[in-house]
Assembly symmetry: C2
Amino acid sequence: MSTKNIPYKIYLEEDEMPKAWYNVRADMVNKPAPLLNPQTLKPATLEELSQVFCEELAKQELDDTTAYIPIPQEILDFYKMYRPAPLVRAYCLEKKLGTPAKIYYKFEGNNTSGSHKLNSAIAQAYYAKKQGLKGVTTETGAGQWGTALSMACAYLDLECKVYMVKVSYEQKPFRREVMRTYGASVTPSPSMETEVGRKINAEFPGTNGSLGCAISEAVEAASKDENYRYVLGSVMNQVLLHQSIIGLETKAALEKYDIKPDIIIGCAGGGSNLGGLISPFVGQKLRGEADMRIIAVEPASCPSLTRGSYVYDFCDTGKVCPLQKMYTLGSGFMPASSHAGGLRYHGMSSVVSQLYHDGLMEAVSVEQTSVFAAATEFAKVEGILPAPESSHAIRVAIDEAMKCKETGEEKVIVFGLTGTGYFDMYAYQRFNDGQMGDYIPTDEEIAASLAKTPVVE
Amino acid sequence: MSTKNIPYKIYLEEDEMPKAWYNVRADMVNKPAPLLNPQTLKPATLEELSQVFCEELAKQELDDTTAYIPIPQEILDFYKMYRPAPLVRAYCLEKKLGTPAKIYYKFEGNNTSGSHKLNSAIAQAYYAKKQGLKGVTTETGAGQWGTALSMACAYLDLECKVYMVKVSYEQKPFRREVMRTYGASVTPSPSMETEVGRKINAEFPGTNGSLGCAISEAVEAASKDENYRYVLGSVMNQVLLHQSIIGLETKAALEKYDIKPDIIIGCAGGGSNLGGLISPFVGQKLRGEADMRIIAVEPASCPSLTRGSYVYDFCDTGKVCPLQKMYTLGSGFMPASSHAGGLRYHGMSSVVSQLYHDGLMEAVSVEQTSVFAAATEFAKVEGILPAPESSHAIRVAIDEAMKCKETGEEKVIVFGLTGTGYFDMYAYQRFNDGQMGDYIPTDEEIAASLAKTPVVE
């Protein structure tokens, strides 16, 4: 196919933007296993989930039959503020690599949260507002999710309470300040505001905190005020549903120019971006309408898909959230302090896990120094300084494009560029100074962590 | 006019993008006064300017008769990577303000340099490359210009040497790191690498540096290598010419929807963004084709247009660059350390100065706390966290929209949103903590500074 008329950036028109989210579970033959109540270890009911999540979100969490769920008008209006995200033809990267491959990336970084997280933040905040709640609580590590939620809450005039892992709170003061600018209250975790926080502070004086602790604090804070609910930025089915906007726009943009993807690549932490990007394409595969390779890229330091087990496990270290059947390294797994904080998660979305288990997609792990090398190469020719997380996808996109150079194949490679790295310059500095290392857990470390994982038949 | 069909964001199609820059000087009845050679105080010749700038850029600097100068294909290709910039209808801001005004902003922040500076950086780097040069030198204060130039040079495989004011180098390590990631060498100024740097270090041990000193170092470094030239990001005619892409796109986007602007607003430091935004509209005014108010917004701490004198002055503190006739506070003026580093310039583009002198535009100054209040209000409803510089324009756009609320007028207000504030979070922190002050120079301070300004008839 001639590429003569394909612009550098494909923007959908406003009236071409998706009006409904796509729920891939509806088309899956093997549905993801149900969530389990952490007390009873029985499938969680709508009623039980509604104590943690907003009712509408709990419904979305459990709905595995409705293929298309209409996006409320208020959310569509918010999406119009920063969407459609462009599908960019990486002409400059192709030229630099000298590859016959056609490379495209869906760029989700053109908003102040700096990532795709805003797509679900606005949805979750909207349903909280609609339910008449006063506010929401959440945790944040690297800070992208907390920023996105702060923005969504500011727009809807909803209170937003973020528990930020203490070490991030101190080392990423600018992320914290963006959230404060959007009116969120940001508390370093563990704090003295919650029981669990006080307990941890007493037990481990001077601790840096952890995501597990911050989750527990956020859940406790929400549980103590009936006008609050807890919200979260990845892993859950509802999040993948909202993030399907990424894949739907990508698919529409490709179809507008009659482009058929051969390979789709996304980075994978909890699976929110990857699941959102691939959902509509997986739907095509499931319905036998099209076929393509789908590749999840995870960090070698935290390889849940490539080296984890497919079992029931807790989503959080504090063990207060429902259990999910997923590829996991064990909820107590402590990944090395990599610079892609958004990918340091022990488990994986149950939808992505099931798709991987069923052979509908592949997975590969990459080391961070090779990821930053790809990030820098990309930045120099495509202009955008990518987030460390997104750069995992860049690494594999470049690798696949170089294979095409060897074989001469003109494959169409599409990858998700989830965000920008403007708040990750410390990591780039380590790389620029040659001080970045790689860490790969041993089989023994993973086995020891998994030994503590609940086994549920 | 009905606004029903106007989308949130107007993107030009790739083939609607401008193919030539617009040189407003060609339509000006009163041309800007010529540059003066700092040694002879006579009009600078092409030959003299070519010792400092690339030949093609020196020609552009002096050309006040050619209305349209074609943009080379290589630059058009680079522009396609991050342009067209969207013209955004601020529906959410309008709703929040309850104003009948229609507010639009041209958003230049969707690229990694975070501002409009890239528009001229790529042009200057291109002509340097075309002339067969090995590299360019420049100075940077806040860091946006240095970042933009680093990106352009990385793309063209040109060396880039940035002298960064020492206090910024230390306080904005992440800006510095972005430049390094793009392969630039970044030296804190004053350094021990240049004569002028060594001299200043000897004279003022432990000095924080200044823009004036960094310029002198960059000029000296370029002058010592015939394969290098010095480039700069604002004030000069050539820069305004390149930045006319902003105004041309804005005008094309407005015309696409038959929108006629009543007021155009831009922040003004050296004048690069403002001059670029307004040029095509001023052209319409000069040719009698249309009329509208044009407002330059400057910081109350550095009010060159509103409180300076229209005289010949040096563009740099080191007094090595040509003199310009412009509104100036005196080249030795030391503005208070405001948080809008990009607007802390003692003078103003000679084009903008002449237009202001001829009554073709207005100017207003605003205090920084009111600017940050506007920035925060804007961020919460429009999603984008703006740069402090850009927020000066937001302040006045909101003020004008509120006047419309009083009068009921449905004016069309267009302002330039030059960039994002992701590297300015320290300033937001000061504001969020209620620790930001305002500073307005006294008449005596300005008079004392101006007393040292050269007077050339």
